[in-house]
Amino acid sequence: MQLRLSWCAATLLVATAMQAEDYVSVQVLQYNENDNRVSVTAPSIMINKDFGTDYTLNASFVADAVSGASPTYYDASSGASAYARNKNVNVSDIKYDNITFSEKRIAGGALFTSRFANRDELRVGANGSSEDDFDSGSGSLEYMHWLDSSKNSAITLGGSYQYNEITARCVDRVGCDASSGASEVKTSTAINVQLGVSHNINPQSYVDIAAFYIADDGYLTDSYLNVVRNNDGITADVVGEKRPDTRSAYGGILKYVNAITDRTTLHLSYRYYWDDWSIRSHTVDSDLYYELGSDWTFKLGLRNYRQSAADFYNSSDNFFSNELYASSDYRLSDFSAWTYKSNVDYKVTKEFSMNLSANYYDQTTGLKATYFMTGFRYNF
């Protein structure tokens, strides 16, 4: 298990008249990395149901099935084996490898929205996800308040608390039961607070501004990952990576949506993120929608992401000596990525629509992935 994943939902902050709709939506994701290294098939379902005009329940569920070449698809793998982590090994015996996207995951969540007389909204959410060696549960609370009677401006304040249980491998014999080698259950928590303002600029456009703060606390290390220390060119130590026990992240996001013409809608967003691991990132995202007739909607999107490395990251094999924190996880490195997105939606009937989306993700680390999403939505 190399990745720590959970089900993240995106909330809509749009201050438009939110359409009251009952629907069932089904999507299937097919994700493939270059060289067929990893392949994930993930079906998901979402149900949105209004109870009168004051209450809405939204529930979703996803199951990831890893197939093909992914290691965790197997209970074990057999081959010329790797050595155990060790002090003082021959440098020539050290091989570098990639981290794979590996999970067998089920996750689900529910969000209950309650509206008051002034149409302010209180949203209560709960989520859970389970993987082979990672379990997570979270709760969230969010309040949206209309700033004006015409409902063109709204302020939203929300917070969530997440609790994770990680089955960590007994690493370097520190702090675990060496008499049996038992895996240890480690925990971590995450608190996320977000304050956002959303405003309709004119009948064709709106803007969202939000600031967020995320505090992670607990076991944030990946017990599967190794680093090289004390490399003198001939011998070196191969030991487990180690990350700080806390991480404080801050960020802001600005989103602008404009219906340029009757048929064309442009989405632009920019996010700035920084944390006390020295990671800074910029995300620029854009989507262009084009409606052809009343049944077809096409989307083209382009996203650019750029991050700086964590201060305890190093990829070179002679870097780490006695630093407390060390990781060679490429996701903590300095890189940028482009995503090329496309989607087509077809309205079969007034109630029933289908979509197909093809996307390509290209990271400067060498990771390339294609992913397709297809599904339908039925309004009832």
Binding site: Y73, S77, A84, K95, N98, S183
Partner: protein, 275 residues
Amino acid sequence: MLKKYIYSFDAMSTPCEFTLYTESKERADTAAKAVLQETKRLEKKYNYYDESSLLSQLNARTTNLLDRETKEILQRAKQYYKTTNGVFDITVATIKELYKSELTTASLESKKETLLAYVGCEHFTLKRDKIYFDNAHTKIDLGGFVKEYAVDRAVSVLKRHKIKSALVNYGGDIYALGKKPDGGSFVIGIKDPHDPSQHKVQVLLEDQALTTSASYERHYKIEGREYSHIITKEKNALVVNSVSVISKSCVESGIYSTALMIDQTITTHNRVIIF
């Protein structure tokens, strides 16, 4: 409701891991401790490099007394020496020392010539509880035997602890005990010799052992450096790159997978996967 418990430790310079499915953590921990103890015992007893180990004493000729376990192991080794046409040979250690001590190639070659005469399982005999070497030079190394034997021993320990479902994996030498709690067999992937981060085939195991020998060397794995193929695809189609053997014991699998890497004419009634 069976729960999954994972145990990992290092022994014989290999990452050892086993997964137990039991009703309680207490039961799993008790069994795991016994397994760990057993593995560590074997590691110590048959450590070629530890002068105090029984094996070193036999090699140094300071004793020739065998306990029942060691006698059985040596008997089996002798048997496999025959069935593998001499490919599996615990006495190749006889010339191993030379590579460490001799500095000039000339002297190395001449000494090797001499010592080669003392390589082969016919140079020792087992009678009652004693081992008899027919010379002073023959040395025994159980390196290709003990890790697999430790897996088989771990399985017996687990059986003694009434564990019905477990997967023992000592650096890719595997034994699957019973079925998974969901009723399915254990699914094992065999690594692609050209790219060990990928799997080439999957094998279903149930009360069976699987080992793989491959042309690529053992290594220390550092994940996350870069995302690309590290192992280059220089390939000669005639060379066997990977041999896996499925059998009832890990020792049997281990010996045949190693031997078949070298000589594909060896016959075995076990299931073999070669690529």
